[in-house]
C-alpha cells in the first residue's frame, strides 16, 4: 500500500490552508443549495396553504411505502459515507473504497425506486402537461401539486446523480491510495455534499408524502 501523496496547490501556503479553504468553499456552496431548494420550498408551502384540498388530494397519490424505503436507503447511505470519510482520515484504503461503493449502490437504489415511482405516475396520467388526467375535483391545483412534486424530486434526483458521478471520480483515486491522514479533504467535502442531498430528502419526504396523510379527501 503506497503512502498517501500530499498535493499542495501552488497558490496555497500550507496543506492546512488548502484543506480549510476547500471545506469553507463546500459549506458556502451548500448554503447556495439551501437557497436554491429554499425557493422551491417556499413556493410549495405558499401554494399548499392556498390550495389545501388539491394538494392533499395529490399527496395521497404518492406511494408512502416507496418514499419511506427511500428515506431509509438515503439515511443508510449517509452512514456509509460517514464511514468512508473516517476511513480516508485514517488512510484505510480498503474500507474507503468499499464504503464509497456501498454509498453509490445505495444512491442508485434510491434512484431506481424513484424511477419506479415516476413510472407509476406516468401510468396514472399524473405527469403534468398535455397528458395529465385527474378525475376528481380541483384538477388545476392537483396538477400544480404534481408540477412542484416533479420539479422538487427531479432536482433532488439530479443532485443524487451528480453525487454518484463524483463517487465514480473519487473511486479510482481512492483505490490508488491518494487519500490519507495528510490529504483527505476531497472525501470530506464530498461527504458534506452527500449529507446535504440526504437532508434535502428528509425535508422533501414529509412535505410531499406525509403532510395531510390522515386527512380525508
Amino acid at each position: 500500500m503506497a503512502s498517501p501523496q500530499p498535493l499542495l496547490a501552488h497558490h496555497f501556503d500550507t496543506l492546512d490552508q488548502q484543506r480549510e479553504s476547500a471545506s469553507l468553499g463546500m459549506w458556502v456552496f451548500l448554503i447556495t443549495e439551501v437557497m436554491f431548494f429554499g425557493g422551491l420550498f417556499i413556493a410549495y408551502i405558499v401554494y399548499r396553504t392556498r390550495s389545501h384540498a388539491g394538494f392533499v388530494a395529490g399527496s395521497h397519490e404518492l406511494n408512502v411505502m416507496l418514499g419511506a424505503i427511500n428515506t431509509v436507503v438515503l439515511i443508510c447511505s449517509s452512514l456509509t459515507m460517514a464511514i468512508a470519510v473516517r476511513a480516508s482520515q485514517l488512510g484505510d484504503r480498503r474500507t474507503l473504497v468499499r464504503f464509497l461503493v456501498l454509498t453509490a449502490i445505495l444512491g442508485l437504489t434510491f434512484l431506481g425506486i424513484k424511477a419506479v415511482e415516476y413510472q407509476e405516475k406516468f401510468a396514472h396520467h399524473l405527469v403534468p402537461g398535455p397528458h395529465f388526467a385527474w378525475h376528481g375535483t380541483t384538477p388545476g391545483t392537483v396538477q400544480l401539486f404534481f408540477s412542484l412534486y416533479f420539479v422538487m424530486t427531479g432536482l433532488h434526483a439530479l443532485h443524487m446523480i451528480v453525487g454518484i458521478g463524483l463517487i465514480a471520480w473519487l473511486l479510482p483515486r481512492s483505490m490508488r491510495g491518494r487519500y490519507g491522514p495528510d490529504y483527505h479533504h476531497p472525501i470530506e467535502c464530498f461527504g458534506l455534499y452527500w449529507h446535504f442531498v440526504d437532508i434535502v430528502w428528509i425535508f422533501l419526504f414529509p412535505l410531499l408524502y406525509l403532510l395531510g396523510r390522515s386527512e380525508h379527501v
Binding site: 501552488h10 497558490h11 496555497f12 501556503d13 490552508q17 480549510e20 479553504s21 469553507l24 468553499g25 458556502v28 456552496f29 448554503i31 447556495t32 443549495e33 437557497m35 436554491f36 431548494f37 429554499g38 425557493g39 422551491l40 417556499i42 413556493a43 405558499v46 401554494y47 392556498r50 390550495s51 388539491g54 403534468p128 402537461g129 398535455p130 395529465f132 380541483t138 388545476g140 391545483t141 396538477q143 400544480l144 408540477s147 412542484l148 420539479v151
Partner: protein, 540 residues
C-alpha cells in the same frame, strides 16, 4: 540601457509569461481571467448599448415610426437583460475584483483558480444562450419576465433567455464563493480584517449577496422555463397558480442584485477617494460596516417593487420602512467620502473625476430611491419614467462610473501602460454631461405620467424625450472615446511604473503589470490601510 536590452532584462509578467490562444483560454491565472471577463462584458455592453441607441432613436418622436411595437418591446427587453445580467452584475467583480482581490490580500491567486476559469466559461455559455435568443428573434417580456405574460402569452424566445439567465447566475455564484473563501483563508500575514482595503470589504459583502440571492433567481427562471416549456401551470392563475408569487420570487433576488451591482462600485470609490486624497478614508470601520449592512438589509426590502401589485397595505408598509433603513448606510458612505477630502491632498486625475461624479450622481439616484420607497408617492410614479431615471442614476451614474473609474485607476497596473490624460479627462466630462442630459428629463417625464416600456407617447412630452435622446448621443460618444485610447495605450502608451499614482496598497508594491504569482515574496502587512507618510510617497 537600450529598449531591447531593457525588454530582455525585464522579468516576465503575467501578460508576457506565455503566448497563444491556449495560454489564455486554459489559464488559471486570475489576472488573465479578469481580462477574459473584460472582453466578454465589453461585448455585452456594446450589445446593450446598441439596443439603448435604438430605444432613444425611437423615442425621438411620439409615434412608433422607427419600428413596430413588437420589435420595440424586444429591444427594451434585450437592453435590460444584456445590461443587467451580462454587464452590470459581473463587470466590477469579475474584471476588477478578479484582478485585484488576490493581490490585495497578498495571495498568489484566488482560492479556487479552476473554479474561476470555469465561471468564465459558464458566463460565456449563458451569454451564448441569450445571444441565440436575441438573434433568433429576441424576447419581449421585459427583463422582469412577469407571468402570466411570459409563460402563457408571449410568442418569443423566453425559455432560451431564461436559461441564459439561469446559467450565467452560476458564474456569479462561483465568483462570490471564490471571493469569500479567498478573503477568509488567504490573507497575507498581518492582514487582519480591519486592515483590509475597503474594496475587499465591498466585494466580501457583494459575495454574500451573490451566494444567497442568485440561487433564488435560478429556481425562479427554472420554474418559468419548466412552466413554459412543458406547458404546466405554476404561476398560471387558470390552474390555481399565483402570478404575484412569481413577482415575490423574482424580486427576492433582483432587489439584492442591485446591491451586487453597486457595492463593488462603492468599493472602487473608496479606493479612489483614498488614493487621490492621499489619506485614509474617513470612518473606515463605518464604511466597512455599511457595506455589510447594505448586503443584509438589502434582502429585506424586495416588496417595494410591488406596492401596487395587489398586496396588503400592511405588507407594503413594512417594506417601505425597511427600505428607508437600507438607505442609511449608503448615506453614511457618501458623507464619509466627502469628509475624506478634508485636509487631503486632492488630485483631479481621471479616476478621481469618475469618483466625484459617482458621489454626485449616486446621491441623486439614492435620494430618488427614498422617494420611491415613500408609499403615497410611489403609487403615482411606479412603472413610470421616474423609476427608469432613478435606476439609471444609480446603475449608470453609479456602477458604470465606478467601473470606469476603477478601470482607469488600475489600468497602468493591469496593462503596464498609461493612457493620455487629456482624452481621458475629456471623456469623463463628456460622460457626466451626456448622462445628466439623458436621464434628468426622465424624472420630469415620469412624474407627469409617462409610463415605462412605452413605444408611443402623448405629443406634449416630445421635447423632454428629444433632450433625453440628445443626451444619449453625447453619452455614447463619451463611452466610445476610452475604447480608443485604452486600446491605443496598450501599444503606444508610456510604460507605467509600479506606482504611477503614489498610492498606498499592496497592488502598488508589485510591478506593473504584476508577475504571474503577483509578488516575488509574500508581503507581510504591518500597517493600517491607506497609510500615507510624506517621506514615503514614491510616484513612478
Amino acid at each position: 540601457m537600450s529598449t531591447t536590452e531593457r525588454a530582455v532584462a525585464e522579468p516576465p509578467n503575467y501578460l508576457s509569461a506565455d503566448y497563444g490562444v491556449k495560454s489564455w483560454l486554459l489559464t488559471t491565472d486570475h489576472k488573465r481571467i479578469a481580462i477574459l471577463y473584460l472582453v466578454a462584458v465589453t461585448v455585452f455592453f456594446v450589445i446593450g448599448g446598441i439596443f439603448a441607441v435604438l430605444i432613444r432613436l425611437e423615442l425621438l418622436t411620439p409615434q412608433g415610426d422607427l419600428m413596430q411595437s413588437d420589435t420595440y418591446n424586444r429591444v427594451f427587453t434585450m437592453h435590460g437583460v444584456a445590461m443587467i445580467f451580462f454587464f452590470l452584475i459581473p463587470s466590477i467583480p469579475a474584471v476588477l475584483g478578479n484582478f485585484m482581490v488576490p493581490i490585495m490580500v497578498g495571495a498568489r491567486d484566488l482560492a479556487f483558480p479552476k473554479v474561476n476559469l470555469a465561471s468564465w466559461y459558464v458566463f460565456v455559455l449563458g451569454g451564448a444562450f441569450t445571444l441565440y435568443a436575441m438573434i433568433a428573434g429576441g424576447v419581449d417580456t421585459g427583463w422582469t419576465f412577469y407571468t402570466p405574460f411570459s409563460t402563457t402569452f408571449s410568442n418569443t424566445h423566453v425559455v432560451a433567455t431564461g436559461l441564459g439567465v439561469f446559467i450565467v447566475g452560476f458564474a456569479s455564484i462561483m465568483t462570490g464563493l471564490n471571493f469569500i473563501v479567498t478573503i477568509h483563508r488567504m490573507r497575507a500575514p498581518g492582514l487582519t480584517w480591519f486592515r483590509l482595503p475597503l474594496f475587499l470589504w465591498a466585494h466580501y459583502a457583494t459575495s454574500l449577496v451573490m451566494i444567497l440571492g442568485t440561487p433564488v433567481i435560478a429556481i425562479t427562471t427554472l420554474l418559468l422555463a419548466v412552466e413554459r416549456g412543458f406547458k404546466i401551470g405554476i404561476f398560471d392563475p387558470a390552474l390555481g397558480g399565483d402570478p404575484v408569487l412569481f413577482q415575490h420570487l423574482f424580486w427576492f433576488y433582483s432587489h439584492p442584485a442591485v446591491y451586487i451591482m453597486v457595492l463593488p462600485a462603492m468599493g472602487v470609490i473608496s479606493e479612489l477617494v483614498a488614493a487621490f486624497s492621499r489619506k485614509a478614508i474617513f470612518g473606515y470601520k463605518f464604511v466597512a460596516g455599511a457595506s455589510v449592512a447594505i448586503a443584509i438589509l438589502g434582502f429585506l426590502v424586495w416588496g417595494h417593487h410591488m406596492f401596487v401589485s395587489g398586496q396588503s397595505v400592511y405588507a407594503a408598509t413594512i417594506f417601505s420602512v425597511l427600505s428607508m433603513l437600507v438607505a442609511v448606510p449608503s448615506a453614511v458612505k457618501i458623507f464619509n467620502w466627502a469628509a475624506t477630502l478634508y485636509k487631503g491632498s486632492v488630485s483631479f486625475d481621471t479616476p478621481m473625476l469618475y469618483a466625484l461624479g459617482f458621489i454626485g450622481l449616486f446621491t441623486i439616484g439614492g435620494l430618488t430611491g427614498v422617494m420611491l420607497a415613500t408609499l403615497g408617492l410611489d403609487v403615482h410614479v411606479h412603472d413610470t419614467y421616474f423609476v427608469v431615471a432613478h435606476f439609471h442614476y444609480v446603475m449608470v451614474g453609479g456602477t458604470i462610473m465606478g467601473y470606469l473609474g476603477g478601470l482607469h485607476y488600475w489600468w497602468p497596473k493591469i496593462s503596464g501602460r498609461m493612457y493620455p490624460k487629456f482624452w481621458s479627462k475629456l471623456a469623463a466630462l463628456i460622460i457626466f454631461v451626456g448622462f445628466n442630459l439623458t436621464f434628468f428629463p426622465q424624472f420630469l417625464l415620469g412624474y407627469m405620467g409617462m409610463p415605462r416600456r412605452y413605444h408611443v407617447y402623448p405629443e406634449e412630452w416630445q421635447v423632454l424625450h428629444v433632450l433625453s435622446s440628445a443626451g444619449a448621443s453625447i453619452l455614447g460618444v463619451g463611452y466610445i472615446i476610452p475604447v480608443f485610447y485604452l486600446i491605443w495605450s496598450m501599444r503606444y502608451g508610456p510604460r507605467a511604473g509600479d506606482n504611477p499614482w503614489g498610492a498606498a496598497g499592496l497592488e502598488w508594491q508589485t510591478s506593473s503589470p504584476p508577475p504571474t504569482h503577483n509578488f516575488v515574496t509574500t508581503p507581510v502587512v504591518t500597517t493600517e490601510p491607506y497609510e500615507y507618510k510624506a517621506e514615503e510617497v514614491t510616484v513612478g
